[in-house]
């Protein structure tokens, strides 16, 4: 009953480490600014909002950097419910930069379409803020709220092209499935709380195992919680929303969903696995193993059949998600924990750069072709060589071909799988290897269109690429190449990313 005494004591204002919260605060300030300015600003000057949004995100990078450089390596607040550690800092950086690129991708798109611009930026920043929060959340409630925080704006963004039934459909599907998944997850969380009497992950960790009196409920809880995030990372069979939503949503939003939102799901998954379920590896390892194998395979196989480029990339990103999951399937085994974490982070960093690049090119090309078909890329190289080469680089990187970023990501994933030196690890590695080959089937198909097919309607007028889009393409392509040639750069960050309080090593 010590607890009782503590609780019945006089309320004390919690201490807030404002430096630690600074990135979130900057973004929060930025989104308020956007919302307010939107009311007052002239219709013709609304482009200012995109500038503000992008600067907000860059500005938020500053505290991230100062935090990274500061002496205190781990800052925890609210009774360890909100922790700023290296992992969260790295991921915050990833989210902010990815968000920045999404803003760049969006700006011309949003200006030209009939969008609600101010609200668009507001929702985008909100979702990003949710992601930032997700990286540091270390209790169930925070995670749940952060998840909804990043999801709810995203549901609406997916439907943002209001007149387009496809976009509506995308939004509804995303929303419905998202809610189902969070319902399942909540059920799991409620059981976790019930068994462990805490929402704090580190407390949960001590009591959550696959054995003991409450084993069955714990299994159920762990599985359901993981399902919630498996949905978010669109792991098969919880992926069904992804292709439809990606296809229907506005392209920049799709880019955002496929990169940032998915990364947020992984962040939560990793945090849960490392800090909440370290002793329950018997539960989640096989589950994630199956998820990973299914995700890679089904994603790939279905991608082979796609005619729509965005839908194809959707399936591709599903399958990429399977690769990210790979190392987690053995993360609980002795000695492979830290390398699994590293490879997940690394994969997310590189995947973010590459996939955003892909969407950059898709956006640029669709400006001209107004088509989402793969065949609209026909002969791209002949009239837009730069875009053709860039798309090739990005796709090759996704396929994992050296010396582009993707290979080191896959390599690291394989490495940590094999590091476990377990049959499960080897088997999954073989499945992954086979899948990385299948994947080339559809990446190669796009390359084939770009390089070897004629221009569909013989229209070879060059493509005008707006400045912001060029900047986005530049950033992503340089990142993709650099990560490939000098993988140490990305690996350095991935290696830094340690979760405070993680028990798995």
């Amino acid at each position: 009953m010590q607890n009782l005494n503590l609780l019945s004591a006089q309320w004390v204002a919690p201490t807030v480490d404002y430096h630690g919260l600074a990135p979130e605060l900057v973004v929060a300030g930025g989104l308020c600014l956007v919302l307010i300015l939107d009311l007052f600003i002239d219709e013709r000057k609304k482009w200012l909002l995109s500038i503000i949004s992008s600067f907000t995100l860059l500005a938020a990078m500053i505290p991230v950097i100062t935090l990274a450089l500061s002496e205190t390596s781990v800052r925890s607040m609210f009774g360890d419910r909100y922790v700023v550690d290296n992992f969260s800092l790295v991921m915050k950086g990833v989210f902010l930069l990815a968000g920045y690129v999404v803003v760049l991708l969006s700006s011309s798109h949003v200006e030209e379409g009939e969008y609600w611009r101010g609200e668009y930026w507001f929702l985008l920043l909100s979702s990003l803020l949710g992601m930032l929060m997700m990286t540091s959340s270390r209790d169930l409630v925070s995670i749940f709220v952060a998840l909804e925080f990043l999801s709810i704006p995203a549901y609406m963004l997916a439907a943002w092209r209001k007149r387009d039934p496809k976009s509506n459909e995308a939004g509804v599907k995303y929303f419905m499935l998202g809610v189902f998944a969070s319902a399942v997850m909540l059920y799991g969380m409620s059981l976790l709380y019930g068994v462990t009497n805490s929402t704090l992950l580190v407390d949960i960790a001590a009591k959550t195992t696959a054995t003991g009196d409450f084993a069955a409920v714990q299994v159920l809880a762990v599985v359901f919680v993981i399902v919630g995030f498996a949905f978010k990372v669109s792991a098969v069979p919880f992926h069904t929303w992804a292709p439809d939503t990606y296809e229907g949503a506005p392209a920049p939003v799709t880019a955002f969903l496929s990169v940032a939102s998915k990364a947020a799901g992984f962040v939560a998954l990793v945090v849960l696995i490392y800090t909440a379920f370290p002793l329950a590896q018997d539960i989640w390892q096989p589950f994630i193993w199956v998820l990973s194998a299914l995700t890679m395979t089904v994603g790939n196989v279905l991608a082979l059949k796609q005619k729509n480029i965005v839908r194809m990339i959707a399936y591709s990103s599903i399958s990429q998600g399977g690769f990210v999951l790979m190392p987690l399937a053995v993360a609980g085994m002795a000695g492979s924990g830290s390398s699994a974490l590293r490879s997940v982070v690394l994969y997310m960093i590189i995947y973010a750069a590459t996939n955003l690049g892909v969407f950059g090119v898709i956006l640029a090309v669709s400006r001209k072709t107004r088509s989402g078909e793969v065949s609209s890329f026909g002969g791209l190289f002949s009239y837009a060589p730069t875009l053709g080469v860039l798309m090739t680089l990005f796709l090759a990187s996704l396929a994992g071909i050296p010396p582009l970023g993707g290979w080191i990501a896959k390599f690291a994933a394989f490495q940590s799988l094999l590091q476990s030196q377990s049959t499960w690890g080897y088997a999954l590695a073989i499945i992954g290897a086979v899948n990385s080959v299948i994947a080339f089937g559809y990446y190669g198909n796009v390359m084939r269109e770009i390089w070897m097919r004629p221009v569909p309607d013989g229209d070879t007028t060059p493509i005008q690429i707006p400045g912001s889009l060029s900047l986005a393409l530049g950033i992503t392509s340089v990142a993709t190449l650099t990560f490939g040639v000098l993988p140490g750069v990305a690996l350095h960050f991935a290696d830094l990313a340690e979760i405070a309080g993680a028990i798995i090593r």
Partner: protein
């Protein structure tokens, strides 16, 4: 392992110089075709110059040692470093890649295949060169893998963009096969890494420590590498990408594919698979040998069935690489020497044959054997060169092909200790029969193409007799080094053997002598 570190900048320069050329090309304004060609030519000449400088500085008396070794941190997190060096095994192949690239560039100056686009073409060619050279100098598995894969995309595009009718199918097929192989190879590399204590990816380190891995584990790891390398070689039954790729690839692509790319696989066996996993190698050797002789006969049968000249030459590669693999499978230093020689010889000869096929295609607008005839009458020089190459390819003593073929057969008689002698002797007889087949298909090919009277019906209205010009200056420039190489190596095989041998001996020292 002993390493010499003098002049260790030359390898990096030689390898990455082409990339510099690519960058320069990329920076050039559009529609500067001549300038692009010039840059490509200068780059490849400069690269070769660096290569020759390397050869001059190479201490041939210590060919068994790694030389020009450079080591820098690269991906320290995964304990992989930028470790490069050459020894007697890699130097000739390293130089071969440079020579072939230069010749291909020269040939391409006025033989650019459709649809043109010189900038992209030469850029890919130079990237390809970097990949090939890099593979031969890499002394770190990860670095090796990166370079090994680096050649994939340029070749994919070379086939896919500049290739023949079925180019897209062929290019995808090529790519998928190789990807499949290298994916498994990567898994094997990683398994190797962890089984040796997760200390380093450096090949010398692994050679020292790989032998201590348990045998059954070695066998599995070897299996992964085997698939990776065998696809590249290509060994039966992983060969089916090759005929398509060759047939559809532009001449330049075929030449590079045959002359250098296929060697990446066999080189991988000699450099990596055998010395690091000696126990597994011994278990696998008879199977490799068996597949090799199947490849020899099978490739030959495939050749006999062809009606397309280029496809025939492609199938002959399967047979020839069978001899190379047979030599490797003996696990004797002589056999591996023969294999190394066979690699270089096959590079020169088959490369040359593909050049000829390209020129035939250019002149006759077909490669259908039945539509070509009497080449000796119409273009005597081309016909004679073709004859020379056929003879070299079928292993005529005194030409380079023989020294890859016969020693391989010879070494099969007496494989390394512990291998089943009877099985290998059977291999030997089959391989010797393969030489008969080689004679059959090559001579038959030659008879049908070069002899007889010209077939006028082969000419559609576009091609008049003026197109049937004999060998041009560019072709002479591009070909004569190969022709001279074939002859010189045939007469003085020791030029190569003396370089290979010490390094091969060292490589095989893991087998206990």
């Amino acid at each position: 392992m002993n390493m010499l570190r003098d002049n260790n900048w030359v390898l990096s320069v030689g390898t990455f110089l082409p990339i510099l050329g690519v960058v320069v090309m990329m920076l050039m304004p559009k529609a500067q075709d001549q300038a692009v060609k010039f840059v490509a030519l200068v780059t490849s000449i400069a690269t070769l110059a660096v290569g020759i400088f390397t050869a001059m500085k190479f201490d041939f008396d210590q060919a068994e040692k790694m030389q020009f070794v450079a080591e820098t941190k690269w991906i320290s997190v995964i304990k992989s470093s930028y470790l490069i060096g050459v020894d007697g095994i890699s130097l000739p192949l390293y130089l071969l890649s440079m020579v072939i690239t230069l010749l291909v560039v020269i040939y391409s100056l006025n033989h650019l295949p459709n649809p043109g686009k010189p900038k992209a073409f030469f850029a890919l060619l130079l990237v390809l060169q970097t990949g090939m050279a890099g593979t031969f100098i890499a002394q770190d598995l990860i670095l090796f893998f990166v370079f090994f894969e680096l050649v994939l995309l340029p070749m994919f595009f070379m086939i896919g963009v500049w290739g023949g009718e079925q180019r897209q199918y062929a290019s995808i097929k090529f790519f998928l096969y190789t990807m499949f192989g290298s994916a498994l190879m990567l898994v094997a590399f990683l398994a190797l890494f962890f089984k040796t204590g997760a200390e380093s990816f450096s090949i010398p380190y692994l050679i020292e420590n790989g032998g201590s891995i348990a045998k059954n584990v070695q066998i599995w790891i070897f299996a992964g590498m085997f698939v990776g390398f065998a696809v590249k070689v290509p060994m039966f039954p992983f060969h089916t990408w090759l005929p398509d790729a060759h047939t559809q690839a532009p001449t330049q692509g075929s030449v590079i594919l045959a002359a250098v790319l296929l060697k990446l696989g066999t080189y991988g066996f000699v450099r990596i698979a055998l010395p690091i996993l000696p126990l597994a190698a011994r278990e696998w050797a008879p199977y490799i040998g068996g597949l090799a002789v199947i490849g020899i006969i099978y490739g030959a049968l495939g050749c006999l069935a062809q009606s397309d000249m280029k496809r025939l030459i492609a199938f002959s590669s399967v047979a020839h690489m069978g001899f190379v693999m047979l030599g490797i499978s003996t696990l004797t230093s002589f056999g591996i020497n023969a294999a190394m020689f066979g690699m270089v010889a096959h590079g020169l000869i088959t490369g040359m044959l593909f050049f000829i096929a390209g020129s035939v295609k250019e002149r006759y607008h077909t490669l259908e054997i039945s539509k070509i005839g009497g080449m000796l009458t119409q273009m005597p020089r081309l016909g004679w060169i073709f004859g020379f190459c056929c003879m070299a390819s079928l292993g005529l003593p005194g030409l380079a092909g023989f020294w890859g073929e016969f020693p391989a057969i010879l070494s099969t008689y007496n494989p390394a200790a512990g291998l089943n002698v009877t099985v290998y002797r059977v291999f030997m007889v089959i391989a010797a029969l393969g030489t008969v087949f080689a004679a059959a298909y090559l001579l038959w090919l030659y008879q049908r193409i070069a002899f007889g009277t010209p077939k006028n019906n082969s000419h559609d209205e576009h091609s008049t007799h003026e197109e049937l010009h004999d060998v041009t200056t560019h072709e002479w420039l591009a070909w004569s080094p190969l022709l001279i190489g074939i002859l010189v190596l045939g007469i003085m095989p020791n030029l190569l053997f003396s370089v290979f041998d010490p390094a091969v001996q060292v490589t095989l020292s893991v087998f206990g002598g």
